[in-house]
Symmetry: C2
């Protein structure tokens, strides 16, 4: 599969890099890429979302969003940014209800070690997201040369602190620390990342319930639910088998009665297997690997990849693309998440959701 | 898939029930079923196994068995009984070496509650198997109306007893007990069944190692190894997603770099998916469900099902068949486990293996 990495997937060799579309326009409507007609971005607030995507006002499940088909032969856009906003609004209401009823405010502690810029950005975004929904956030920032023992001491303190309901250790840790030791130290009841093997084991087992489900795969499934996409009995292919996305995504799909296949770096003919899928979740980190020819007409695509590729036309000199060749996929799939603005915003929304669930469980609040 | 249950899969309606073959002959050579030529049973001792299946005497891995193709167009028989015997011989030597070196004898405790005849038989067989390899076995037999508390008390005692290295609670438990509570009480270090969710989680996760792997799926993979059947890069289909066989079998195959698909009761077109497999592991308990038409020519089949079907010609009035229609499969597959005599004997061999591994780990004995 390694030989199938592409940084550009346009049918013409000049396409993606030479078209004078801004980043946000590139992902606004995939067919516009080919027919050269610009439409507005789909990353809109709840009101526009309802107008654009036709929210079921009569649905028994009020949060189900039904995307309407475009008049063009293009895929529906699964708008993760809008759904994440909707979820954050729901969480805000829930946090407020909890505070009013029992005086408890959910709390999330984040431990950051070292000075990686990307990690610092992630942590800052998590803090901002907590603030926006009313969750208390606590941050510990330790220097790169801290000892594992120091990190463990902070975890232990947070484990014992009843005002903390979720503990998150920002990865990667400096190489002198044993990641497994550190993650295992987080109390199972506060493992809002859902990475503890006991949580994964419960996720894999029928009749068992994990305390937490890892945020990114949970966000993928939530998108399918909110767009009212059937999973039961469908053939789902997960591309990638990482501990944090691919593997738990496959387990989640199986819990919902999909028939799963898992494609990975050792898979022969990944395109042939992928082409059988009604639902594709791709999480490999290979830009534009999944081509249009890999996709069954009408398939639903959840693209977890967020890959920077060179783009001289972008002010930053690069742009972000998914694992799936978006413009090709749009011509074949029935629905697809854009990158960015698809799964990305869902991950933090699910982290907030897990933190609130944890606080509710700790205080037996329904 | 429920509509696809067959108790008989012969091409003629009269075949399986009317042919005057004894039980053991039925599974001796599948093509004989059609050409009406009887050959001797393949369930032979190690010496004959070498002659029949051509053990690699020059192989760098001394335990690899290479099955030679029959001159007839029939599948190789994967002889679980012979392999299990070979493994028990290896375990006998290992137990003896450990006793001589450090004076420790591995110990397995089995807890049986109630009077189910099948459970009593299983427990008796486990005890006999322990005796045959020199493992100490301890049995507790509690009456049907025992309390959960009493069972937990025994588990606690075994957890604390350094002469016990494996604890096995025979399932099913009486309905008034919470199976999950009871199984969770078994110390992780003595969970030789490998059913603890922490073990399953580690099995699912890359870079983690379970302390124990569940015995039946471990036995399936061991058969593939001992017959030198490549797994890496192969397409494997697991039929059934139970906690004790199907799900862990899929996780094990994935750990060995197979591309897995999991077929279950909600799968549409199970035959179409199954037919793509290079390796099929079936564990659904549906007699003869997998027909010849489900199997890709040359596939390898591991049949975990042990299903009794009526057979007036058998002295017992029934005979045991697998999930796979054996006589049809033999015409298509390259290798297949018979039922009985395939996976069945491997389960107890793996239990003994897990018990010895546990004792070695407890005493840091290499």
């Amino acid at each position: 599969m390694a030989s199938m990495i592409f940084t550009d997937c346009s049918p013409s060799t000049t396409a993606a890099r030479l078209l004078p579309f801004s980043h946000s326009r590139l992902r606004s409507n995939c067919s516009s890429f080919f027919i050269r007609r610009l439409v507005g971005p789909h990353h809109v607030g709840t009101t526009s979302l309802r107008a654009t995507l036709g929210v079921h006002s009569s649905s028994s499940s009020s949060h189900v969003i039904k995307a309407t088909m475009s008049t063009e032969a293009s895929a529906k856009i699964i708008d993760g940014k809008a759904v994440a906003k909707q979820i954050r609004d729901e969480i805000t209401a829930e946090v407020s209800r909890m505070k009013d009823a029992i005086g408890v405010v959910p709390g999330l502690a984040v431990i950051l070690v070292g000075d990686r810029k990307d990690s610092a950005t992630y942590v800052r975004n998590k803090k901002k997201a907590c603030d926006s929904v009313g969750i208390n956030s606590f941050e510990v920032h330790l220097p790169e040369d801290s000892s594992e023992h120091e990190v463990l001491k902070f975890i232990s303190g947070f484990n014992d602190d009843p005002s903390i309901h979720g503990i998150l250790v920002q990865l990667p840790l400096p190489s002198h620390m044993n990641e497994q030791n550190v993650l295992n130290a987080v109390s199972l009841e506060k493992d809002v990342d859902g990475f503890h093997p006991l949580n994964i084991g419960r996720l894999a087992m029928r009749g068992r319930e994990p305390l937490f489900v890892p945020c990114t795969p949970k966000g993928c499934i939530e998108l399918l639910h909110r767009y009212d996409i059937d999973i039961k009995g469908k053939k789902a292919v997960v591309i990638g088998r990482s501990n944090i996305v691919g593997m738990p995504a496959a387990l989640l799909l199986q819990r919902e009665d999909a028939t799963i296949s898992i494609v990975h770096s050792r898979t022969k003919n990944p395109e042939k297997i992928t082409k059988q899928a009604d639902i594709i979740i791709s999480a490999v980190g290979q830009p534009n690997m999944v081509r249009g020819s890999w996709i069954k007409p009408g398939a639903v695509i959840i693209d977890v990849g967020i890959n920077p590729v060179e783009d001289a036309k972008s002010p930053r000199g690069y742009r972000l693309v998914g694992d799936v060749c978006y413009e090709e996929a749009c011509q074949v799939a029935s629905a697809i998440t854009p990158v960015p603005g698809g799964v990305g915003p869902m991950t933090i929304a699910m982290l907030l959701s897990n933190t609130v669930s944890s606080a509710k469980r700790a205080h037996n609040f329904q």
